[in-house]
């Protein structure tokens, strides 16, 4: 089967007021290979040239690159280029065929000597997803007794989408979920963290997914919010080995327009690029992302 191929370009630039002494960085910029997604090529172009770099696979199976700059610089540019082939989903999971949410929760409760489900690790609070009473108040009544878990998660996604405004200036990555709740606005990370917090407060496993959206939608479809930077959404675990992605920012179930890069408990596990710098004074960050269909894709004009 042949899917659609996309070229992903993700550029990160740090411009410093002074020159740095040394710096070290960790990048989580390589799209994953999944049943419905294949990584055709990937390269990380770093300017100036790093003094050395290593690669490894992290605890969640994401590809991570680490690099160190020993030469001094005032400007660092990291360009991640990938070609990803995305296949249409074979079939959608029918929300009403998923188990009742209480059953998913109870299956994870620990009993001595009982079988262990690795998904349990996504059901606990994590550094960016702290559970608070406000979270429970917000999601009250969404999950009715014996509701199928995916139906509940979809209803929750609709509620977040309807009650919150997308506002890139309102929050930063350190804004806690409680403030996002109080102000009713935020960006894709905030909405993803909020939905995860809601699910985990019920004892349900949910992952944070970092990835990309197609920059220009196919004809006849609206442009999705969050396409000019890396995007984030949620994956909810519906049954053993069945995870379903949900994008609360756009109120959609991700499809061929979403490219998955990495997942973890929250943003902290998969932030695309972070670093520690010695010297260099203040700096500003510029990020640009473009996701274009490749011209050779059959049935599509360039």
């Amino acid at each position: 089967m042949k899917g659609r191929r996309y070229r992903v370009e993700h550029q990160t630039r740090y411009v410093h007021a002074g020159r740095t002494l040394t710096s070290q960085h960790v990048a989580c910029l390589t799209p994953r290979t999944l049943p419905r997604q294949r990584l055709c090529s990937h390269e990380l172009e770093i300017e100036p040239q790093p003094s050395y770099a290593t690669e490894r696979i992290d605890f969640f199976g994401n590809a991570v690159s680490e690099f160190t700059m020993l030469t001094r610089y005032a400007e660092l540019e990291v360009m991640s280029r990938s070609v990803v082939e995305v296949f249409p989903a074979k079939s959608q999971v029918d929300p009403y065929s998923t188990p009742a949410w209480e059953d998913v929760r109870d299956e994870l409760v620990y009993r001595r000597g009982a079988r262990y489900d690795p998904a349990a690790q996504f059901s606990y609070p994590s550094p960016y997803v702290l559970l608070a009473p406000e979270v429970e108040i917000f999601m009250r009544d969404v999950f009715t007794p014996r509701m199928p878990i995916l139906a509940g998660a979809l209803a929750l996604m609709h509620r977040i989408h309807h009650e919150f405004r997308f506002d890139p200036g309102a929050t930063s990555i350190t804004t806690p979920v409680t403030r996002v709740l109080a102000e009713r606005r935020g960006v894709c990370q905030d909405f993803a963290h909020l939905q995860i917090a809601c699910l985990r407060s019920l004892g349900l496993p949910a992952r944070y997914v970092s990835g990309y959206l197609l920059t220009d939608p196919p004809p006849g479809q609206p442009r999705l919010v969050g396409a000019d930077a890396s995007h984030a959404w949620v994956s909810v675990r519906c049954a053993r080995d069945v995870w379903v992605d949900l994008d609360p920012t756009n109120d959609v179930v991700p499809d061929a327009r979403h490219i998955t890069m990495a997942w973890g408990r929250d943003y902290g596990d998969v932030s695309p690029l972070r670093g520690v710098v010695l010297g260099g004074a203040e700096h500003v960050l510029h990020v640009g992302v473009s996701v274009m269909p490749l011209a050779d894709e059959p049935g599509r004009s360039p």
């Binding site: 990160t12 050395y52 290593t54 409760v109 001595r112 972070r274 520690v276 710098v277």
Partner: protein
């Protein structure tokens, strides 16, 4: 043996010694008689009368003060640093009781190491349901970046501590686990050193097992495990710095183990290898014994808001290029919630039954355990299961009915973050307090280190903490004290008793140790502040002893002396003083004496002495204990001014004491310190400071040189400690040219400016790999100018024609040297790493 116990032993106190019901009595058996170890102690300890115990307690207090043993209560720059407290009576444990306990703790250490290997590897314990996943994945101490790493030899835990308590039935049980960077072993050794001297006969008679060999094992374990292709591995001790509450111990252990003490900023990671920034460039580090908790170790991969760690350290460790003891991620083993699961895990991993029990603990996240815990809510203790948990332990027996119901509800609705522990009444031991024996609750911390055979060695002894005046709560943060613990040797054992020695490093403080850039800078400033304190004290003495001279108020010498005091900022500068400022001798005297003890003002003697001691504290691992004792006496004289308003007598007395202590410190530097790079930076600091002071003072006097009053020159000589030299050479009263010759140009007077330049020249040329060509040329120029200079006729070379120009050249040189050192050797140490912005 003479029967003196009835009069002098502890028996005499027994009738008045009480302890609350339900606690094990460490002192007495059930029939009220002394327990066996105490009977033996009494027989050997000699005089145990109240007067003798008071004397002993006073000696301990003095030793602790002089050795500078502290426990900083709050980890802040200006937080109080409280002297350590050690009770005069040890706790004595017989070999028959200790050995099974030690065996059990060794087993537990092996067990925890095996648990670590599983959690950071295949996680079979999770798969088989032997450990709940929440206790791993919800615990902030489980570090995902460290999963999949197998450290050298499979050893994750090199150094472990267990907290033990003894229940009413007399059995010890484990109540706490320290697997990241346990503290207290250094305090335990220091306690032992102090107490074994005090009761040497009892120490010998009871065949007490020495604790010092334990540190040798720790040292050789780390050296053997550090990956190093050839030669001796370079192992360092990583400390969060002088503001940490147990910094004293870090410095102490560094000396004991012979490892350099370093802070995160001293280390850097290059190509997945760890290096120490030294004055001779980067030096490879093969092993790190860390006193930094996991979170703080690597801002890149662990906690990005921390500046204490080393960016990239986790990666270097993962690559197997450096030993980190303990391995990262061991915090997950500290959860009290694990206690309930260890017996099962022990049988699975070691095929053994667990020997030493843990305190009965129920993790509420397990339904069956929660039911059990709910049965015990009347008397139990609720604690957080995770270190980021919501609260301090709650003793439910002390909670009212409403609070109790709240806990019932809370545990039912959100049980996972809590454990319930059985309430354990702690055993009590006697402490000597206010002239009587009082009973105090106690808790014991026992230390283990990995040996070469895949097992662990137990320190025979440990740190025993006793509750404060409320007698129940045991915590170093909240007050209370400590005791030494004596473990007797098995009968027939050849114990070879001897008083414990502190460290081999004591006699030879720092051998051929490498000098980190930070240590070099601290030593440089130690030299400068010590010298500055001394000149400041000499100046004060010169002024205060002369102010009352007849005719002083109108004399030239007084004007120049006051000018020097103002420039040194011992008096307010004229510009700032109100026009009507009282310039009478009495007023000046008062201002100088008040300023003397003022530690806030930047140029006061009090400030300079305090800075000397502070900077010395930052390089404590490099100073001998004698040196430290002198410094602590020094600070005491200034820190504790006489009661009430100090008079001239008091002030002069303090100044004399200060000068004597400073001279002794300087003498120790010359007589006892190894001539390595560190000593060189210290000496450079001293010579540079002395050079600046002489030259500035000469400038102050320059204006009076035409004056015929010989007393101007007299105080100048006094200030430079050169009066005797002058007298031995010149029979007449001081004259300007001869004084300039002696204080500036004489190459043999250790106080002259030229002498300082010659010394600086020598030291700078011996510094490693520096590019100091420019300052060395500057030095040559100044030396040539001096050689040519005639006080009466001026000079020709180097553009120096007048004394003022000559002094200017010296000043320029002092600045040039200081700048060159900063640029070459000290720079970048204090640059703090920061995280990049994220999107």
């Amino acid at each position: 043996m003479k029967d003196t116990t009835a009069e002098h032993g502890l028996d005499a106190f027994l009738s008045a010694y009480t302890l609350p019901a339900g606690h094990f009595d460490e002192l007495r058996a059930a029939d009220g008689s002394l327990r066996e170890p105490w009977r033996q102690f009494t027989a050997h300890a000699g005089d145990l009368t109240p007067a003798a115990l008071d004397r002993a307690q006073a000696r301990i207090a003095r030793q602790i003060h002089e050795n500078g043993i502290t426990y900083n209560v709050y980890a802040a720059a200006d937080g109080p640093s409280r002297p350590w407290t050690l009770d005069v009576l040890p706790l004595i444990v017989e070999a028959e009781e200790w050995e099974p306990l030690a065996r059990g703790l060794r087993q537990r250490a092996r067990l925890l190491n095996a648990v670590a290997a599983d959690l950071y590897g295949p996680q079979r314990l999770l798969e088989e349901g032997l450990i709940p996943p929440a206790l791993v994945f919800r615990h902030p101490g489980f570090l995902r970046p460290c999963h999949g790493v197998t450290p050298a030899g499979g050893v994750f835990l090199h150094f472990v501590a267990f907290d033990l308590a003894r229940g009413p039935d007399g059995r010890w049980c484990v109540v706490g686990t320290r697997t990241q960077a346990p503290s207290g072993a250094g305090y335990a050794l220091e306690n032992r050193t102090t107490l074994s001297r005090l009761f040497l006969d009892a120490f010998r008679g009871l065949h007490v097992q020495p604790v010092a060999p334990f540190f040798d094992t720790l040292r050789s374990t780390l050296l053997a495990a550090a990956p190093c292709e050839q030669g001796t591995p370079h192992v360092v001790l990583l400390t969060p710095g002088p503001y940490n509450e147990t910094y004293f111990e870090h410095a102490y252990l560094a000396r004991q183990l012979g490892f350099p003490l370093v802070e995160g900023g001293d280390l850097t990671v290059r190509h997945s290898g760890v290096f120490l920034k030294t004055v001779s460039g980067l030096r490879r580090v093969h092993g790190i014994l860390r006193r930094l908790d996991d979170d703080y170790c690597d801002p890149l991969e662990l906690r990005s808001d921390s500046t204490l760690g080393v960016a990239g350290l986790v990666d270097a460790w993962r690559a197997g290029h450096v030993l980190v003891a303990n391995a990262f991620g061991m915090g997950v083993l500290e959860s009290p919630a694990l206690f309930a699961f260890l017996p099962g895990v022990c049988e699975r991993l070691l095929q053994e039954r667990i020997q030493t029990p843990s305190l009965a603990t129920w993790w509420c996240g397990e339904a069956a355990a929660l039911r059990d815990a709910q049965q015990r809510l009347d008397t139990g203790v609720v604690k957080p299961a995770f270190p980021d948990g919501p609260m301090e332990p709650v003793f439910l027996a002390g909670v009212d009915a409403v609070g109790h119901q709240e806990w019932v509800t809370r545990l039912a609705t959100n049980p996972a973050p809590y454990v319930v522990e059985e309430y354990l009444p702690l055993s009590h031991a006697p402490v000597w307090e206010g002239g009587a024996l009082e009973s105090r609750a106690l808790m014991l911390r026992v230390f283990l280190c990995a040996d070469h055979a895949g097992d662990y060695q137990v320190m025979p002894g440990g740190l025993l903490r006793v509750a404060g005046a409320d007698r129940q709560v045991v915590s170093s943060q909240r007050g209370g004290g400590s005791k030494d613990i004596w473990v007797m040797s098995a009968r027939n054992a050849d114990a070879g008793p001897r008083p414990e020695r502190r460290s081999r490093g004591d006699e030879e403080p720092h051998g051929t140790q490498t000098t980190s850039s930070r240590a070099a800078e601290h030593l440089f400033w130690l030299g400068r502040y010590a010298e500055r304190s001394e000149t400041c004290a000499r100046l004060l003495r010169a002024v205060l002893t002369r102010l009352a001279d007849p005719g002083a108020e109108t004399s030239d010498w007084r004007a120049s002396l006051l000018r020097t005091c103002r420039r040194q900022e011992l008096l307010e500068p004229v510009d700032d003083a109100p026009a009507s400022a009282d310039e009478s001798s009495a007023a000046v005297e008062r201002a100088l004496i008040t300023g003397l003890f003022d530690r806030q003002t930047r140029h006061s003697l009090g400030f300079n002495v305090e800075q000397t001691v502070r900077v010395a504290g930052a390089v404590r691992d490099r100073l001998s204990s004698d040196n430290w004792r002198l410094l602590s006496r020094l600070s005491q004289s200034i820190v504790e001014p006489p009661d009430g308003e100090a008079g001239l007598d008091d002030a002069l007395d303090v100044i004399d004491q200060t000068i004597i202590a400073l001279v002794a410190v300087a003498g120790l530097e010359m007589a006892h310190m190894t001539r390595n790079d560190g000593w060189r930076f210290l000496s450079i600091g001293r010579h540079l400071e002395r050079l600046s002071f002489i030259v500035s003072t000469m400038e102050d006097v320059l204006e009076e040189q035409s004056s015929s009053d010989p007393r101007v020159l007299d105080w100048l000589l006094d200030l430079s400690d050169s009066r005797i030299t002058y007298r031995s050479r010149h029979m007449r009263a001081p004259e300007w040219p001869a004084v300039v010759d002696l204080l500036v140009l004489d190459a043999h007077n250790p106080r002259s400016a030229l002498f300082q330049v010659a010394k600086l020249d020598k030291h700078l040329r011996l510094l490693p790999d520096g590019d100091l060509a420019e300052v060395l040329t500057q030095i040559d120029r100044v030396r040539r100018a001096c050689a040519d200079f005639d006080v009466k006729q001026g000079g020709l070379f180097g553009g120096v024609e007048t004394p003022a120009e000559l002094f200017g050249a010296f000043h320029g040189l002092a600045l040039g040297i200081s700048d060159a050192l900063t640029l070459q050797y000290f720079s970048h140490v204090y640059e703090l790493p920061h995280a990049t912005a994220t999107f």
